[in-house]
């Protein structure tokens, strides 16, 4: 299994609070991704990174920000959580953009009340 650790694995918080999710990899892969998975929508890309301090938006980036200060860590922040951001969040990594598979962590289940 790819060395990907997501933390926390579960979190319950209140609307309006800031939340940060962490993804840590031990594979030294260049590309890292944040997805959310919701029933009826499948996996949707939030943000991705193509190197240290190099990030870009995915298809559902509103309300989320990311940071990557080290190759191994990719942080996802909800500045002011809303109930619509209740979801399961997955981090993924890949060695190349289009010709190598992405490998996923086991997710963070986030509930916003």
């Amino acid at each position: 299994d790819a060395g990907i650790t997501q933390s926390p694995r579960h979190k319950v918080t209140e609307t309006g609070t800031p939340v940060t999710l962490r993804c840590h990899q031990t594979e030294n892969h260049r590309y890292m991704y944040w997805y959310r998975q919701d029933p009826g929508h499948g996996l949707r890309l939030i943000h991705y990174s193509y190197g240290v301090k190099d990030t870009d938006k995915g298809e559902v980036s509103d309300g989320y920000s990311v940071s990557r200060s080290k190759t191994e860590d990719f942080l996802l922040t909800l500045e002011s959580a809303t109930s619509s951001q209740t979801s399961v969040y997955f981090c993924a990594i890949s060695a190349a953009r289009e010709s190598q598979p992405q490998h996923f962590g086991d997710g963070t289940r986030l509930s916003i009340l």
Partner: protein
């Protein structure tokens, strides 16, 4: 736009039988495809991939077939086991973007 989809939402099989999970894609320029397995409470797990210069690729108990003429993928699982019960996705990188296009998924239920 480009999309990757699945024909069957649920597939039930008997333990020991072979399973076939199908996937259609719409972008004829796609040249790389991936199959993932997702068990309850876990992230998608890479199973096997195939490039468009191949028609078939085999792994351990799994085979992926690619028919570019009809833009169709299938995942064959031999001697299906209870541990194979999961949701299976096909996925395709969207060329020029850092994005995987996932199908909706097929749930495989293996019965003893």
């Amino acid at each position: 736009g480009e999309s990757v989809g699945l024909h069957l939402p649920t597939l039930s099989v008997q333990e020991g039988d072979n399973s076939i999970i199908n996937c259609a894609y719409s972008n004829s320029a796609s040249d790389y495809f991936i199959w993932y397995k997702q068990e309850s409470g876990k992230g998608p797990q890479f199973i096997i991939d195939i490039r468009s210069n191949m028609d078939k690729r085999q792994g351990q108990r799994v085979t992926v077939l690619l028919n570019k003429t009809v833009k169709h993928l299938s995942l064959q699982i031999a001697a299906t086991q209870p541990g194979d019960s999961a949701v299976y996705f096909c996925a395709e990188p969207l060329r020029g973007y850092n994005k995987l296009i996932f199908g909706a998924g097929t749930r495989l239920a293996v019965h003893p």
